[in-house]
């Protein structure tokens, strides 16, 4: 689907890197769901807003809570964002306060796939979404690509 100027305006690093739009806009799922392979729910660990969160994981906006959520899907901590054969990875972007504000999932090509809030999905380089809105990558997780959701 190509590139999109409205995304480049919001994420200034996008036009400086390789990316392509891969879906129309949707309000039905967000990046945290998309990273976990869920296209049917909006994930959010805030009890008062009635969005989805994995049962048994603390409902709090902390990096630890997000890590625990993905650990229930078989992910483990990892310090390497490069492509590793036999593993699929999730990158958690955090803001200045260390709170997760975005998640991306690595594809077998080594590129990453992201759902941009209520906007489109894109394939991109990890650096393409760093900046004011999504901060920086604060944690990488990986699991064997033999694991199932």
């Amino acid at each position: 689907m190509g590139r999109a100027i409205h995304l480049e305006l919001r994420y200034p690093n996008l036009p400086l890197t390789e990316y392509t739009v891969t879906s129309p806009k949707s309000q039905e799922y967000n990046c945290f769901a998309w990273a976990a392979g869920d296209q049917e729910r909006w994930w959010q660990p805030t009890p008062e807003d009635e969005f989805f969160w994995i049962e048994g994981v603390p409902m709090e906006e902390t990096l630890l809570a997000y890590i625990k959520a993905y650990q229930t899907l078989g992910y483990e901590l990892c310090n390497d964002e490069t492509l590793e054969i036999g593993y699929e990875k999730i990158a958690l972007y955090v803001n200045d306060e260390g709170i997760p504000v975005h998640a991306a999932r690595q594809l077998t090509s080594g590129m990453w796939t992201s759902k941009l809030g209520a906007l489109e999905d894109i394939e991109h380089e990890l650096e393409g979404l760093t900046g004011e809105r999504y901060g920086n990558v604060g944690q990488v997780l990986r699991r064997s690509n033999q694991a199932t959701i």
Partner: protein
Amino acid sequence: MTYRLFEILSETGNHADVVWADPSSSDRNDTHLAYAIETTETQSLARLNQADFIAVSAQTLYEHFPELQGCSYLLFATHPLRELSDSAKYLTYYTFTNDCSQPISSSGASAKEVHKMIAFLENQVIQGVVSPSSEMIDQAKLSGQDISKWLESAFSIGGNDFLDDDSNYFVPIPVALVAIIGENPEIKESRVDTVKEEFTNLASQWVHDVEGMSSTVEMVKHSAYQKIISMGKVVVPFLLEDLRQNPLYWLPALRQITQQNPVQPEQRGKVKQMAEAWLNWGKQEGYIV
């Protein structure tokens, strides 16, 4: 524009002695009243210069004061000398129908009723739900002429002891006039248009700023979203209407404004189903026809 009680009542031009019951005013023609002001330490009468004319919705007023059905105006008035007595009604209000030549009862409201009414009016003013139209102001001025005539004719300071039950003392000093506005369709529609315009502007600004955010917590923190929430239940119909196009956006706002939760546990996170639950709630609650 703020209209003062004086503007409403001054059309007849013959009651300035009553309205300008202000110790600093040089326009005091009534020596009895001037004497009362200067000798009873009622310096707070200076507040008369800030007496206002306000309007409230009849529907809202009647919900809180069903006994006032049929009233068109409330005139708050003080009786300055009465504040020397614990039992007398220093501050009261008189109720008028469309016929403003005399109040429904000249005894006025009790202290308890006055307290309740002031609390209600303060809340209405804070919400700012009714803005008087020019037609409403014109009508109030006409009614004000009749009320002024009543004030003039009722004024009495005779008798030996103003605290005696038999005293002829009756010096109502007007401090505020409250117009009770029926649900005039044009006024109602005007209000609806104003709310819709404000919501549309705030929503547009909010979407522009937060689109692309992944966390609804961050999205909800935005000042425009918070302003929409602060608009209260009056904005609920517009949130529900927009929910059809944008099923995600107003879910937190609806929850916060209404303090309701029609979303079933199995629907959590399923945005379209959550929106549908709210739309069904809106139909049940009468927000959606």
